[in-house]
C-alpha cells in the first residue's frame, strides 16, 4: 500500500521526470511495477495466470519491488487512463496484458519516455515499449499428438474464441500433429465468439460430444467444457491457460499452462540492473513460458513418452511445429519439405492447413 506522502513525492518526481527528463530519486526506493489486467483475477484463466506472474515477481524480489495492479480494465479510453495513473503513481515498468491495450499503451508510452512498458501479444514497439507473447502453438502440438492418439471416434473438437492469428495457429498446430499420429483424424471447430462464457462453452462442448467428438481442446478460459466432458464420460479434455487440475485424472489428461513468471522476473531484473531494452520476446516451451501440465495416468505410457519426446524436441529447438511439407487448405503449397514457418507468417496466419474442413469466419 502506498502512503499519501510517498505517493505525492513520487508523483511530483514523476511529473518532473516526464517534462524535464531528470533522473528519479535515489536507489533505496523499491521499483514500482504495474500490471493492467483485462479481466478479473478471479477468472481462473488468462488474467489469473498473469497475476500469478506478478506474485512470482513479488516473491523473487521481495522489498526491492512493489507491484500495483488494476483488474477488469476495459480496452480503449479507460485503459489509457489506467496506464497513465500507474505512471503517475510512480511505476517505472508497466505490463499491459491484453492485445486490446495496444494503442493505449503506445499513446502513454509516447508521453512518458522514461517509463518502460511491456505489451502482451501486440506488435507495436517503441524505444520504451517492448512486446511479449507466448508460443502457445508449441503446446498445441503436444496435446494435438495426445489427442490424435486418444481419440477412438477420430473426431477432435476445438472450442475456439475469435478468428485471430493466435487461435488459428493453435488449431492448425493441433490438427497437424493429431493427423501425424492418426491420419483418419478430423477436427470439429466451434467458434464461440467469446473468451469467457461458461454456459456457452458448456453448450459448445455438449454439441461436440453429440457429434461424436471424444477429445475436446479449448481456447476459451472456463472449466465448463471439462465438466461437460466429465458428465458425458469417455471424453478427454485439456486444461487451458491454467492447469485445471481439479479435473484430473480424467477428463483432463494434460494441460497447456501460461506461465509468465520467468519472463516477468527476467524483465524486472533487467530494469533493476539498468539493462532493459525494447525487445520482442516470443517465448515457448523452451523458455518455460508455455508449460505442459501433468499428463495423467489415463494416457498410455507410450503416448505419454511420445508427447514428452515432442515437447522436449520443441524445447530444445530441434523441432518446429510448422515444418514442411505443408499445404494450405485449398491445396496450394505453403512450406516445402523441411522448410520452417517464419514468425512473420505465424503472427498473421489467417488460413487453415490442408485437411481441415470448414471455413474460418471473417
Amino acid at each position: 500500500m502506498i502512503t499519501r506522502r510517498n505517493l505525492m513525492t513520487t508523483g511530483a518526481a514523476g511529473a518532473t521526470l516526464a517534462t524535464l527528463g531528470l533522473p528519479l530519486r535515489a536507489q533505496e526506493e523499491p521499483l514500482k511495477v504495474g500490471f493492467i489486467y483485462v479481466g478479473p483475477i478471479g477468472d481462473g484463466g488468462w488474467t489469473y495466470q498473469h497475476d500469478q506472474g506478478r506474485l512470482a515477481v513479488e516473491a523473487e524480489f521481495g522489498d526491492r519491488v512493489e507491484t500495483l495492479y488494476q483488474e477488469s480494465v476495459p480496452e480503449g479510453a479507460d485503459a489509457e487512463r489506467a496506464i497513465t495513473q500507474m505512471v503517475l503513481a510512480g511505476c517505472k515498468l508497466i505490463f499491459t496484458t491484453s492485445f486490446g491495450f495496444m494503442d493505449a499503451t503506445v499513446a502513454v508510452a509516447e508521453k512518458f519516455p522514461d517509463v518502460k512498458f511491456e505489451h502482451a501479444t501486440g506488435y507495436k514497439r517503441l524505444d520504451n515499449l517492448a512486446t511479449y507473447d507466448a508460443r502457445f502453438y508449441e503446446g498445441r502440438a503436444v496435446i494435438g499428438t495426445i489427442a490424435g492418439r486418444m481419440t477412438k471416434t477420430n473426431k477432435i473438437g476445438y472450442i475456439a474464441s475469435y478468428p485471430i492469428p493466435e487461435v488459428i495457429q493453435g488449431i492448425n498446430s493441433a490438427f497437424i500433429h493429431a493427423r501425424k499420429v492418426n491420419p483418419d483424424v478430423e477436427m470439429v471447430v466451434i467458434w464461440a465468439y467469446t473468451w469467457f462464457d461458461p454456459a456457452k462453452e458448456a453448450d459448445a462442448a455438449q454439441a461436440m460430444i453429440e457429434q461424436g467428438v471424444d477429445v475436446i481442446m479449448q481456447h476459451t478460459d472456463s472449466t465448463a467444457p471439462q465438466a461437460a466432458a466429465q458428465a458425458a464420460g469417455n471424453v478427454f479434455t485439456f486444461g487451458q491457460a491454467s492447469d485445471m487440475a481439479e479435473f484430473k485424472p480424467v477428463p483432463r489428461i494434460a494441460s497447456i499452462i501460461d506461465n509468465w513468471a520467468p519472463y516477468y522476473i527476467k524483465r524486472v531484473q533487467a530494469v533493476l540492473d539498468g539493462t532493459w531494452t525494447s525487445t520482442h520476446t516470443w517465448g515457448g516451451i523452451g523458455d518455460g513460458e508455455v508449460v505442459i501440465g501433468e499428463i495423467t495416468e489415463a494416457v498410455p505410457d507410450e503416448v505419454r513418452a511420445e508427447a514428452e519426446a515432442l515437447r522436449d524436441a520443441i524445447a530444445a529447438g530441434e523441432y518446429h511445429p510448422f515444418t514442411g511439407p505443408l499445404n494450405k487448405q485449398d491445396g496450394t503449397p505453403w512450406l516445402a519439405e523441411g522448410q520452417v514457418a517464419t514468425d512473420e507468417e505465424l503472427v498473421s496466419m489467417n488460413f487453415y492447413v490442408e485437411g481441415m474442413q470448414g471455413q474460418i469466419p471473417s
Binding site: 500500500m1 499519501r4 480503449g76 479510453a77 487512463r81 495513473q85 503472427v347 498473421s348
Partner: protein
Amino acid sequence: MIILERRPAPSRLWTWATPPLAVLMTMIAGGLLFAALGKDPLTAIRTIFWDPLFGPFAGFTRPQLLIKAAPLILIATGLAFGFRAGIWNIGAEGQYILGALTGAAVGLAFYPAESRLIFPLMVLAGALGGLVWAMIPALLRVRFGTNEILVSLMLVYVASNLLAWAALGPLRNPEGLGFPGSRNLRQWASSANLELIPGTGLHWGAVAALVAVCAAYGLFARHVFGFAVRLAGQSPRAAAFAGISPSHLVIGCMGLSGALAGMAGLFEVTGPAGQISIDFAVGYGFTAIIVAFLGRLHPLGILAAGLLMALTYIGGEMAQLQLGLPAAAIQLFQGMLLFFLLAMDVLTTYRLRLKGRPAPEPSSAAAEGAR
C-alpha cells in the same frame, strides 16, 4: 409509527439536499465496507471523492472526468425524453454501438483522404446509425404494438454481435497483421476527435453533451415537443385529448435518444476509444439509464449525475490502484451510492409524519403530477 405522506409538490429544499445527504451516507456505509476489507476508510473515501478533483494528480484526472461523463450525459439526455413520456428505450447500448459502427464505416470509406468534411459526415452517419437502430423498436411498437423494452434490449445483443463481426471482418485494419480491430481513427487527422483545448478533456463529444443538455432544457421548458412529452408522461389521456399522437411521440422520443446515443458512440470511437474493437462497448448505454434517473430526468440533474458517476469511476480506479481495493468492492460501493441516492429521493416527494397527526389532503392533480 412513521408514515409517508405525499407532498403537494416536490420539495425544493429536499431536491437540493438529498444528493449530498446520500453521498454522505454512502461514505459512511462504504467506509464500513472498506474498513471490513482492512483498508483505512478515510483514505479510501478521500481517494474516491476528493483526489480526482483536488488530489496531487488532479491536473490529469479532472479532464478525465469530462471524458468519462460526456457519453453518459449525451445518452442520458436523449433517454430522458422517452422516459418522461413513458417510452422505455433500454437499448441505448445497441444504438451507441451502431452509431460508432456506421460512423466509423463512413469515415473509413474515405481513408486516407484528408478533408475537414469527413468528421462532420461521420457524426451525421453516427447519429443516423443510432437513429435507425432505435427506429426498429419504435416502428415495431407503432405498427404492431410490440413491446419496445424487449426489442430494444434484444437489439443490444444483435449489435454486439455486429460489432464483433465488423471488428474481425469488414472494418478490420488491413495493415493490422490479421489482428481484430479497425484502423485507429484518432491517428487519422480527418477523423480524430481530440481535445479542443489541451488539458481540459473537452472534445467534440463533451461539447455535444453540453449542447444537448442546454437544448433539452429549452425543449422541456419552452417547446411544444417538451410539453407533449411531459403531458404524455403525466396523463396519456390528456395528451390524447390535446391532439398529441402517441405514434409520433414514440418515433420522436426513440429517434432522438437513438440519434444522441449514436453520436455518443461516434465521438467515443473517434476520440477516447480510437478504434472499433470487439470490446468497444463498455456499458455506457446501460449506465446512462441510471444517470438519467439519478438526474431525475432533468437535463441539469443529468449533467450533475453524469459527473458524479464519472467521479466514482475515476476515484474508484484510483482507490484500486493506490489502496489495492478489489474492483468488486468499488462496484459494490457504486451500487450503494445509487441505492442511497434513489432511496433518499423519497424525501423530495413525500414527507415523514408520525401516524395520527392530521395533514392537509393533497389535491389529486398535484399527486398525479408528482408521480
